[in-house]
C-alpha cells in the first residue's frame, strides 16, 4: 500500500513538474522532456547588447519545440535557464510554458499598454520572473526572465 502510495505521489509530482518548461529549470530537465534542442545564436534572440554580455558569461541558447511553438531558452553557465522567449507567433504561448508553476499565482501588473504590450511580475525576490509580451495581432512575442539568474 505504501509502495502504491509512493508511486502515486511520485507520478503526481512528476506530472505536475512535467507541465512546465520554464525559467529556472536546468538544461537537462528541459532536454529530457522535450528532446535534444537545437542550438541558436544568442545574438539573434536576445539582441546584440545583451548577447555580448550573455556570451561573455558563458551563456548558451537553445530552441525547443513546445506545444507546436518554437521556444527559445537561454541558459547561464550553470546550465540553468534564465530567459525564455517565444517570438513572432500568431498566438502567445501559455504563460506557464515560460514562467512555470508561478503561472498559478496572480501576477503583479507592472505595465500595460492596451492591445500592444504587458509586463507582469510573478513571484518576488530571487524567484521573481518578469514576463512581458508585445506585438500585433498575428505577430506576437513573449519573454520571461529571472533577473537573479541572468548573467
Amino acid at each position: 500500500m505504501k509502495k502504491i502510495l509512493a508511486v502515486s505521489i511520485f507520478c503526481i509530482l512528476f506530472a505536475a513538474q512535467s507541465s512546465f518548461a520554464a525559467v529556472g529549470e536546468t538544461y537537462n530537465q528541459m532536454a529530457q522532456r522535450y528532446g535534444a534542442p537545437g542550438q541558436v545564436s544568442i545574438k539573434l534572440v536576445a539582441g546584440a547588447k545583451d548577447a555580448a554580455r550573455y556570451t561573455a558569461a558563458g551563456a548558451k541558447g537553445y530552441s525547443f519545440n513546445i506545444n507546436n511553438l518554437k521556444i527559445y531558452a537561454l541558459f547561464n553557465a550553470s546550465n540553468v535557464c534564465f530567459k525564455m522567449l517565444a517570438l513572432h507567433n500568431r498566438m502567445l504561448p501559455e504563460t506557464s510554458v515560460l514562467v512555470g508553476p508561478a503561472a498559478n499565482t496572480a501576477p503583479k501588473v507592472l505595465l500595460r499598454i492596451p492591445r500592444r504590450a504587458i509586463v507582469l511580475q510573478y513571484g518576488s525576490g530571487a524567484n521573481a520572473i518578469i514576463y512581458r509580451s508585445f506585438g500585433l495581432p498575428g505577430n506576437l512575442s513573449a519573454e520571461a526572465t529571472n533577473k537573479s539568474l541572468e548573467p
Binding site: L44, A48, K49, H88, E94, A117, F134, E143, K147
Partner: protein
Amino acid sequence: MRAIQTSSRNSSKIIQLFAALSVTAILAACGAGGGGGSSSGGPGGGGGSTTQLTITVGNNWQTAQVETGSGTFLAKAFGLVKDAVTPDEAAAAIPSNVASIGFIITAADMATISTNAPVSGQTSITETFNVPNGNFRAVRVNAMDGNGDVLYTGNITLNLNGGAVSQDVAMTNALCYTPVSSNQMPVCFVNATQDDSLYINTPYVTVYITNASGVSMPFNLLLDTGATGVLINQDALQAAGVNIARNNGSFCGQFGDSSMFGGYVSNATVATLASGGLSTNSSYPVAVNQDTAPNNSNYSCPGFTPGNAGFPSGGFLQGDFGMGLSPSYTFGYPYTTPSLPAYLPGYTDGFFLSFTPITTSNGSSYTGSGTITYGLSGGTTGYSFFPNDARQSQAFPSIDAEFGGVINDPSYTPTNNNYLGQNYFALFDTGSTFMFMGGNAMSNAVSGMPTIDYLSNYEYNQGLFGTGTALVNGGLFMTMGLYNGAAMGISNLASYDQGASFTTSPNTGNYQFSGSLFGTPPNNGYILFKDTILDWDPMYGVEDMGMSYFFNHSMYWASDTSANGWGVGMQLP
C-alpha cells in the same frame, strides 16, 4: 529630469480636460410641438409627436458623474480625476478654449436638427429641441474651438416616445479632422480612459451599420494601422439593434498585451464614415467580437479569461478598424474578402498614408526618409498605403528601420540585417500610444543619446515602473531633439523644421519643449516630439512607432548613414 516632470504635469492636464466637461440630456414629457429653444431644423416624420429634449453643457460635472453610476466609462475616469485635479480646477465647467457648442440630432426617419451655440464666457449652455418621437435618435454634442475644430465630443442614442428620461453623456477630448474634399474621411482623436488605461490622442473612425430597423448606427472603432480587418464588439452591435447572423467560421486571436478577441464572421450592411452623408450601403464582412465582457458567456476562444478582452464592453472604442492588408493578420476572415479599400469607397484619400523620400539635393548621405499623413489629400491614384520604398509584403505601413546608418545592430551589415529571418522595420502604428524603440536604435541614432544602461539606471532611480524592477530597459518619458534640418544637410526638411513655432493639436501645447534631456540641440533646439519610449527592440526587432503624438501631422523620418544624427519631424496639415 525636467522633461519627466513636465510630462507628468501634461498627463494630468489631459485628464482634467477630458472630464471637466459633461453633458446632461434631460428628456421631459412633451406633446406635439411643445417647447421652444433654439433648435434649427425641424421634425420630419416620426408620427407627428415630439419629445422635448434639453441638453445642458457645463453643469457641475462632479454631480453629473455621480449620476452615471458605478462601472461606467465616466465613473472610471472620475477615479483618476479625483487625484489629478483640484476642486477649483474641476469647477471650471467649460474649458476656456471652447468657443462654441454644436448640437446635432440625427435619425433616418427625421430631418437633422443642429445648432451651434457660442459660449461667450458662459459657464454653461442649455439648448432645447423638439425631436420627433422614434427610435435611434443619435445625439451628438461637439465642443469646438474658434476654428471649428472639435475639441470634445460626446454622443448618445435615444429612443424617444414622449416620456421623461435623464441621461448623462460622457464628453471625451477629441479632435476631428475636417476633410477638405469630399473624398476624404473624417478622422477623430480621443483622449479618454478605458479599461483603466489612458488613451492619448487615439485616432478613431466611425462606421455606420444598418440595424434591423433600417437605421444606420454609429460605431467608434480604433483606427489601427497595426491590425487588419474590421472587428466590432457583439454587445455593441446588439445594443444598436443590429442583427448579424453568423455566416462564416469562428476565429480567435490575441493582442500584444495578451488580451483576446474572438467570435465569428458575418456580413453586415456597412456604410463608411459620414461626412455630410453616408457612403453607399454595401455588404461587407465584419468580425463579430464575442470576447468583450467580463461576464460574457459567449466567448469562443480557448484560454479567454473574463476581463481580458481587447475591447472591453462599454468602452468608447467598440472595435478595431484595422488598416493592414496582409491576409496573415485579418481578424477572422480570409483576405480574399474585401479588404480595406472596399470598405472605403470614395474615401481613399482620407486614409492615404504616404512616405515620400526626402530629397538629398546636396548629396548628403541621409536616406530612408518618409512622411506619414492623416486625413490629407495625398493620393492621386486611388488607394495607396505604403511608402515608396515600402516593404510591400508587409501588412502595415512600415519601412526598414535604419538608425544612425545601421540596421539597429551595429554589427549587422546591409546584407545581414535580419532578425530571426526578418528584417528590422519600423511600424507606424496608429493603434499604439507608445513608441517601442530599441536601445540600440536610440543610442546609434542620436548623437549623445544615453546608452541603454543609463536609461535602465535612470528608470530604476526614478521608479517609473516600480521600485527596482528595471524590468524595461527604457520606459522613460523623454524628449528627443531633432537636429536642425539644414545642419543635417536636408534642405527641404529645414522648411518643416519649425521647432520654435511648432504646436500640436488639440491645442494643449503639451508637447512643445524648449529644452532637451540631452542638452540643447543645435540652433536652440528643435524639439519635435516627446513620447514614451520603451526599449523592447532587442526582443522583437521591431520599432513600433506609436502615432498618438503625430496625429494630424505629417511626419518626416530621416536617418543618417554617417551616424551623426537622425530626425523625426512633424508638420501641421
